[in-house]
């Protein structure tokens, strides 16, 4: 135990015995919290980003780069706010992204490949882990959620594309398929059929983004960074609200209904 740890326990007025119990409690809570963070982040992402990160042939230059970081920063910000507000623990964003990544790989192995026979090359996930770590680092350094929103939010949105491009770029090599040019990702999406996912439901660069030519990726990344600042702020504040317990006043009949013994004289 370091001097700092002892100073914390002293400030908390914990005896060595209570500190030991508290440590056991820590272990239990960490495990439970991990599952909670994991599941909430996963469900949130599936509901709002879903297909854009399921399949390699959905990872386009516009919506994948835009939607995936904006959605994933939401749970990162909310959990960061909760961990920071209550415990001054700057690990909420990193834990959210890391647990989500572990969960995604488990699902990709067991559900997508194991049960539906989709090869992993079709369903490799992207991750916002680097941006999430940057959020936590900046929060520690600045001690300010506003500065974290402005700088961390921008870094989160901007770093998503280059980080994931390091390992996803090979999927965008050109190849010839049935007399047409296609990316390897397109071919993987075609070759391993998804009966319920026809090609036309992919939303690939709809709009005028392609007027930016080869820079479309970076235009999306900068816009994503801009939106991430606001998404972070909104969800940070929601996390803070979640840390503030509120009680609804109820009458004695309601309390009796739930087994409370009401002293008639006190009424």
């Amino acid at each position: 135990m370091t001097d700092n740890d002892q100073a914390i326990l002293a400030a908390a007025e914990m005896s060595p015995r209570i500190a030991r119990y508290s440590r056991t409690f820590d272990y239990l809570i960490v495990v439970i919290a991990a599952f909670l963070v994991w599941s909430v982040t996963h469900i949130h992402f599936l509901l709002f980003a879903g297909d854009w990160d399921f399949f390699i042939d959905w990872k386009d230059r516009q919506y994948w780069i835009l939607i995936t970081p904006i959605v994933s920063i939401m749970s990162a910000a909310a959990f960061q706010a909760i961990f920071w507000t209550l415990f001054r623990l700057p690990i909420g964003a990193t834990a959210s992204a890391l647990l989500f990544l572990i969960g995604v790989w488990i699902v990709r192995y067991h559900a997508w490949e194991g049960m539906a026979y989709f090869p992993l090359s079709l369903v490799v996930p992207a991750t916002g882990l680097v941006g999430a770590m940057a959020l936590d680092f900046i929060l520690v350094l600045s001690r300010s959620w506003v500065i974290t929103a402005v700088f961390g939010g921008v870094i989160y949105g901007l770093s998503f594309f280059p980080t994931n491009w390091i390992y996803l770029a090979p999927y965008f090599q050109p190849a010839e398929h049935m007399g047409e040019m296609a990316s390897v990702a397109d071919i993987i999406g075609y070759v391993f059929p998804r009966s319920g996912t026809p090609e036309y439901i992919r939303i690939i660069e709809r709009g005028t983004l392609r007027t930016f030519g080869d820079s479309a990726n970076w235009v999306s990344a900068f816009f994503s960074a801009f939106v991430c600042m606001f998404a972070y702020s909104v969800f940070w504040l929601m996390g803070v609200v979640a840390c503030t317990p509120k009680y609804i006043p109820v009458g004695y009949r309601f309390k009796e209904l739930y087994g409370a013994k009401i002293d008639a004289g006190a009424l």
Binding site: A12, L86, L89, P170, E199
Partner: protein, 415 residues
């Protein structure tokens, strides 16, 4: 008695747990009947084989007709995608065509009332017995599943490979595994840094102690100067890793392309021979008798006498067994469950002479109406039926006519 009941219960449970529980269905009967009977009608569908080894291919080909009586509530086939129905990626799709035009992407502008041919080439990947259908996905309407055949795949799954050479000359050994280890390696690396950061904090007094310290306003104890240094160092480390990694990747793969999106178009097939004009009179579904009866006025507009050979709807083929040409048109390999045993019964089966008009009652009685879940069309807001009638002249030449109209549920015979 109680013991015997328990024993039976246990034995039944054991039996069911040992039986193969795999679900083979993949929604071929799930689409509403008014879509299956009034949109895409598949015909002349064949499978090149029903047994193959891993890496062998099977070709599914045939034609489909888009019925003129397309339901109002279903989007027109302005954008479609030809696919296959099978339980997951048990087979890979090698090629697909509509009217010999590659259908790698979606096809736009199909015309209602016209015919198209299709071809799917599939390669066996997973060992087992798989139901393989052609499927037409219609934007805004969903999937219309064609007839399915059971395909038996044997061999060794480990032998399956799908190699590819890119336009830049890079050789990919197998698309199934391509790039996966690179993704895992990098994500594991980032995960390791994240884990170090989390453990850096978890090793200290955590929940209650930190909460109490926060309450007392002693935050200076919770974040130390060393924490600042570690955070700054890791931030710089990550920035360098990402910058170097991205730069090296762009130089390693200088020629990259975005995802390819778009749609193709193709004109329909020439109109097939049309020897008989159909005037719809009445259709009813006899609920207790499981019989769909049609009353139509047929007029032979050709110069040859013709006979009714087949009525097809929702992949069911009701064959007039008294007409050899119609019977011969059904391949022995066509799925038996889609050819109802009772066939098509016609009250006036004699050939229709050139120029002749005749009121004809057609009877299609079979449990297949129930089995294929087609009777719920009686509860639709738009209770209509549709299908194709095939006619044969004395030389065995085939012509096709659409038939469609409202359908009435009845509980006793009226026509």
């Amino acid at each position: 008695m109680k013991k015997a009941t328990l024993l039976v219960w246990a034995a039944t449970t054991l039996l069911f747990s040992l039986m193969d529980q795999a679900a083979f269905a993949h929604g071929e009967r799930a689409t509403e009947p008014y879509i299956r009977t009034r949109t895409v009608h598949w015909y002349d569908v064949t499978w090149s084989t029903d047994a193959l080894n891993v890496n062998d291919t099977v070709t599914v080909q045939g034609k489909f007709h888009l019925l003129n009586d397309w339901p109002d509530s279903v989007s027109l086939p302005n954008l479609v995608f030809l696919s296959n129905g099978s339980p997951g990626a048990v087979m890979t799709r090698v090629e697909s065509y509509i009217n010999e035009i590659p259908a790698r992407q979606s096809t736009k502008g199909l015309i209602v009332g016209r015919d198209y041919d299709f071809k799917l080439v599939m390669k066996a990947r997973k060992v087992g017995q798989w139901h393989l259908h052609p499927v037409m996905n219609i934007h805004g309407a969903g999937a219309v599943v064609g007839p399915g055949e059971w395909i038996t795949v044997s061999g060794n799954e480990a032998d399956f490979k799908d190699p590819l050479t890119t336009l830049t000359g890079n050789k990919i050994d197998d698309l199934q595994t391509f790039g996966v280890s690179r993704v895992q390696m990098w994500q594991f690396g980032f995960g390791l840094i994240a884990a170090v950061w989390i453990l850096w904090w978890l090793r200290r007094p955590l929940i209650i102690s930190r909460w109490l310290v926060v309450k007392k306003g002693r935050e200076d104890l919770l974040i130390t100067p060393m924490d600042d240094k570690v955070a700054a160092a890791l931030l710089v480390l990550l920035a360098i890793v990402v910058l170097v990694g991205y730069t090296r990747t762009t130089s390693e793969f200088p020629e990259l392309v975005p995802l390819q999106s778009g749609s193709l178009s193709t004109p329909p097939l020439p109109k097939p021979p049309h020897a008989v004009e159909i005037k719809f009179k009445r259709a009813e579904y006899d609920v207790p008798g499981r019989s769909m009866r049609l009353s139509v006025e047929m007029t032979n507009t050709s110069d040859q006498p013709v006979s009714v050979g087949e009525f097809t709807t929702a992949n069911l083929r009701f064959i007039n067994k008294s007409l050899p040409a119609a019977v011969a048109a059904v391949s022995s390999k066509f799925p038996k469950e889609l050819v109802p045993r009772n066939g098509l019964v016609i009250d006036h089966p004699e050939p229709l002479a050139p120029g002749e008009s005749r009121l004809v009652n057609l009877d299609t009685t079979d449990a297949a109406w129930e089995v294929e879940r087609l009777v719920s069309f009686l509860s639709n807001v738009d209770s209509r039926m549709g299908g194709l009638l095939f006619f044969y002249d004395g030389k065995g030449n085939r012509s096709m006519s659409e038939v469609y109209g409202p359908i009435v549920p009845v509980f006793k015979k009226t026509i």
